[in-house]
Symmetry: D2
Subunit: 336 residues, 4 copies
């Protein structure tokens, strides 16, 4: 088993997908242990650390990477299996941010109303008990919610020589902010440039559907990911697979277009996995699929279309890549 | 216990909310046993029964009702607790329909492309085994999926002297098409006219999130609902409550506005239930709420915002109406 | 020439399309002289008359009518030619309104931000000089802009037994708020119920594209309209014609769907008027049509698609109804 | 007068804004004569030259540039005054393109319907008579429409180290596709990187509002542009000025957000030019502004907000840069 560890120095963090050279090279089959900073670059640590003061645009939402995957070429698919995602600190943070979030005017949903107050919330992270503790800023209300770690941002270099801010989700991945991207999940990403150039960041201890206020329970993470490559197979939009489900994603505005992309991909993927006629697949997905919301606050919105593999009579997508990486994951977890 | 049974004659079915007189009167505290036809009026029973041929606009999506609730006035809230929702037949049906559904041009998302093929699927409904059986039209693929009965359409007469087609969801309820509206759930609807005038229809044996092809596993239902009235309490958009969650709905286009309405209502409702400051409630909902998609195919789209009551330290909304109706439900189910 | 005059008493004003009986009957070929109140029911006359205080929901945007047109049946088209639209007073008014308008959160684009200030602006209307005079509320800035009177609201009873608030534009017409609806224009509306039941209201002395703050230069109007009926010809969405252009409208959300409806109708109408293949018509409209924005503030948004008749080699739509009514208009104006 | 001429070799054409070095350097005050290829790279010249066959993604919509403007730094505004835009050939071309355009499903408005036919239309361009000649593909219909040359694409390198395909309009400019960008107009663009790095392309002989079929009357152009720099003045979104109007643009999805951005910018710009309170400016723009549609087919949609300078009591934005460049233009045109 080939294991690589990487801890980025602050100046090594990336703020785009595309447009910069790799920080490292890995071979397919490698397990990568890496550290990711939180979306504020670790600068928001107290109630007075308002993001608009301590963070500087565009140095937001740093990602760790990019990593060059040996042998990856346009037309291939990169598989990233998340072996573990663990909070690196015993605290996490969330905030409102002026003109950001779903229940406020923004720079594109432009309004004349003044922004909402900018407020910081601090969470205790109890890794033993597997909970985070919410504490109201005004009043005594407190409650524990389950720890459910995930990465908001994962992606590769975009097509067409583009470079995109990490905040933006699109066909290359990016800031999809879906709680489905947790440990035990394999992410499939279409490769657009030699080496794929994947990066990972924006850990969340947990997140509601849509990240309605604009930020989740933001945390630095220690994450372990297994890397694989499926040669000669394209993937139009990021896809996910866990032991029981396959999932398609779509990122666009308005939100119904994100829904359409994700459902369209799940229908056509279902058709190719099962041999079903496209309308038969449309019908099956219509009755069997869930549509967990990713984000409704970023520069594109993200929806996920998710169906139990059992409803498809249990296909093995991408030549059983998920199963292979699950085995590698077990091996890693039992031998480290 | 006051129990009323109602089986509509075909000519008694309604096709609007508002604009017609009540078919019956009920007192708060009544249990109503009723029959609802499927969205095709029961006319699609075989592969040749194309809806565009056997159904006639606007006689689509019939509802049973409206019922006048004694004492209900504008400014009150009607509570409907679904005691049971059971398929009335051993089959159900789904179809595509020309220029209807999320992955086709429609009359409003107007396109020059020809419509998709109109196809009928028939489902076996096994009420013992609690499954429906999908069978592909082209090929041998078949699979069972869990039976999860729900009503797509429930609502009251709209405000402002409006009458709306039953197909449209809005602040008065209507065709929200959320799978969350299953047995065990209490629905809260703001009353707009004397007597509230509620109706129920559009039963589904199960439904994916968004009803992407435009129709679910459509079925006639035998449904039992307990009726209650909360005087002097307004409800801006339909809300739901089950034993573990409270839920807000929003129906609008684009889909992000349906999301915004539902999340906004859940934030302000959370604030009033917990005493939390509005921004504190925004933060809590951001990390704790799910957003199950209702429909992305009707004339308005519907989103639901859903949070565990435990995260709110277990409030008792509407003066414990859900608990009261739960008790009534148990009583009904054990004594009938 | 058959001329009818109608001045509604306050209690005769309508607040819906559909759902109420006619205030009068007219034969095709009739010229109707009528008075319309402003959208505030004439209650906003000074800086202190905030609409949220002096107006009562749903008694907003009153229309004059409905009029029963003899012989009109579903499947026909009603033609209304606006002979003249003249401000009835020497003042007009505009306001902001809480949570209404394009640059503020609204009840559907729901936000947590407080509303904008509610402010009233009064305009002098100089009917001789054909200008309105804007005067800033805070400061001395003043400017004259051309008087360009129009009706925001015109429509018939909707299909499917619906009744809709006058504020809503849809396939039946309603509150389209397009500045293209000025004197000299013929409006074509598909008939949904016997007698058509048309109403007119919401006069504007002038309006920018989109009515961005939510209200125009609102004024009571003395309006003269010639009524005609085209038997056996359907009209899917409201259409307009002036001496030089034909226009299609679409009302929906999001705004691109209003655009799609209007352009789709103009393409298919162009095809039927010229005999062009549908893709050839698509190409011609693509290069030749303007898309004046109606409203981006109402419950549906409205777009207009407008092409010079010269680009279509000057067809005569609806059997030259516009020309016929133009002649009637000239006769009326020269003989009154 | 400093005049520079530039004719790009095919391999010098650019397909992104950002991400590549300048092809030349110019000082403020320079007049640049340049050639731009059409959006198909000149490869579509006959009915058989289907874009999907003769063009290769992502080598679409080439632009000429980028040019480094000496002294330009982030925080400045670049002014580009279009002295002339003249078709370089006596023909132009338009097409449909699979899954592109407003009346078809696309890659984001994803649908299961097959694409529309891909068809090429050729236009004669009569530069003397100032017309283009449309000729139907199926049938004899032909018509002349006025020549009204414009550039669909103009922009600078984006902020935040991004590189964007030229097809995308956003805050940096790009493929706005507004017919308002014709000769006699000054475009203002916020500078994001040293040298600004502006490029120009996508000439249209004329275009309808929204470019509904996805392409305009596409043509190579000989264009003359005067370059100026306003130091220390920011511009959030591209703005335009002609002799009689100022204009703001917005590019986003859904279309109402493009509208909101453009109107919001025009309101705040009006406020700063006139000293009007923001709500007073909101009111004035509401009654005085037009909203010509740019595109409703690209990856972002574009709207323009346009108001006569007379309604603002004739301010001189950007320290009369437009007037200065108008004078330079006159000088150039009379002395070349």
């Amino acid at each position: 088993m080939n294991v690589v560890s990487y801890q980025p120095a602050p100046e090594e963090l990336s703020y785009t997908f595309g447009g910069r050279p790799a920080v490292g090279r890995v071979r397919p089959g490698t397990v990568v242990e890496l550290f990711t900073e939180d979306c504020f670059g670790g600068r928001v640590r107290g109630f007075g650390d308002l993001p608009s003061k301590v963070c500087e645009f565009p140095y937001l939402n740093p990602v760790t990477g990019p990593f060059h995957v040996e042998g990856a070429e346009p037309g291939d698919t990169l598989a990233l299996h998340f072996i573990s995602i663990e909070p690196a600190r015993d605290w996490a943070v969330s905030t409102t941010f002026p003109h950001f979030g779903a229940l406020t005017g923004t720079h594109t949903t432009a309004m004349l109303q003044p922004p909402l107050d900018e407020v910081v919330w601090l969470y205790e992270v109890d890794r033993e008990k597997r909970v985070v503790r919410y504490q109201a800023r005004r009043g005594d209300f407190a409650v524990e919610m389950p720890l459910d770690p995930m990465h908001g941002t994962v992606g590769v270099a975009p097509a067409a020589s583009e470079a995109r801010m990490t905040i933006t989700p699109d066909a290359h991945g990016g800031n999809m902010d879906t709680p489905e991207l947790r440990a035990g999940v394999t992410v499939y990403l279409g490769v657009n440039v030699d080496g794929a150039l994947f990066s990972i960041g924006d850990g969340h201890c947990r997140q509601g559907h849509g990240e309605v206020c604009g930020t989740a329970v933001e945390a630095a993470m220690n994450t372990v990911v297994a890397v694989d490559l499926i040669k000669g197979v394209t993937t139009p939009w990021p896809r996910l697979e866990d032991d029981l489900h396959i999932m398609s994603t779509g990122s666009a505005r308005p939100l119904e277009d994100a829904y359409r992309i994700s459902q369209h991909d799940l229908v056509t993927w279902t058709s190719s996995l099962t041999g079903l006629d496209e309308l038969d697949a449309y019908q099956l997905v219509s009755q069997g699929a869930e549509a967990p919301v990713g984000n409704v606050c970023d520069t594109n919105y993200t929806m996920v279309a998710k169906i139990p593999k059992a409803y498809l009579n249990t296909p093995t997508p991408y030549a059983s890549t998920h199963t292979t990486l699950r085995t590698l994951s077990t091996h890693y977890l039992t031998t480290r």
